[in-house]
Amino acid sequence: MAIFYILLFFMVIAAIIAVETKDLLGSVICVGAIGFGGSLMFLLLYAPDIAITQIVVEVLGLIILIRATISRDHTFITGEREFFGMVVSVAILLVIFLAGIKVFESLPPFGTPIFAKAPEAPSQTYIEKGLADTGAANVVAGVILDYRGYDTLGETTVLFTSILGATVILRTRSRKRLEEPDT
């Protein structure tokens, strides 16, 4: 259990550095640290599928983020922030946080998942019948591609949409006159 606390503290500290440092490149690297801490945590939480996906997605995500920050100049943030606005928003967020902490007491304690107690939870069926129903030894693969395959269709579409959107946003000419042919 202690390892989870250590990793989460590490992630929180990395997050604070990422938020507060003035060097954009350093802040991106801290995001990488959070991501790798997260993927280690997934591994220890018995989610190897997610750990693999997280780590490779993290690598590509970092490349994308670094791509945005390396522009030869302007990697340092300068300038004053409005003090008053910051205090107000920090106060609001603190209130939400304190309200939120109590909420987690209503959940079942860490390490005893809800599906073991709820008789109608789908997860128990996935574990017991997953191999027989779908033929996949990896129950997670069975869930994402068979039981909840429709979700995965949506997920593929989200990726398709955002990449199409990115190429649309990055196209060089956007408007033309009506008579002009397409370029």
Partner: protein
Amino acid sequence: MKGMTIIVKTICGWVKVLIFLFGINIILFGHLTPGGGFAGGVILASSYVLMMLAFGREFVEKNLPIPLASRLDCFGAFLFAAVAILGLVFGGTFFVNFLYQKYLPGHALHLVSAGTIPLSNIAIGLKVGASLFLAIFALSAFRKDFQRPDAGGDNKRPVAGQE
């Protein structure tokens, strides 16, 4: 961007093949071991991204199949939807795992098992690999204009990989 030194280029040439094979392995065994279409697809994309980082953008533009990638992007997504629709045709309901239930049960824990799941994994792997490669290529192809921020919007070279 001329790329990095010859040492890096040579090593990347070798490593690229290994990463690519690893990605294929992850995709094909996605229904038996951890991994699957998404993780494998991202690994496939990263093997090409490695090439792009090592050799520079011009090399990629000349030697790697950018239009093919944008076709593959659409094709992979279409293939996954087609697997779902085939479930409607052969199994009577959208997204039914018709291969496993009717035609090809396979043996548990073997490569040929789980019906349409490996097929879907392959489709997703193709789609994710192609689209992420395209995304990173488009982002870095924009770089030329990126260095002179105040230039107008009209006299730029087109980003390859589009129409």
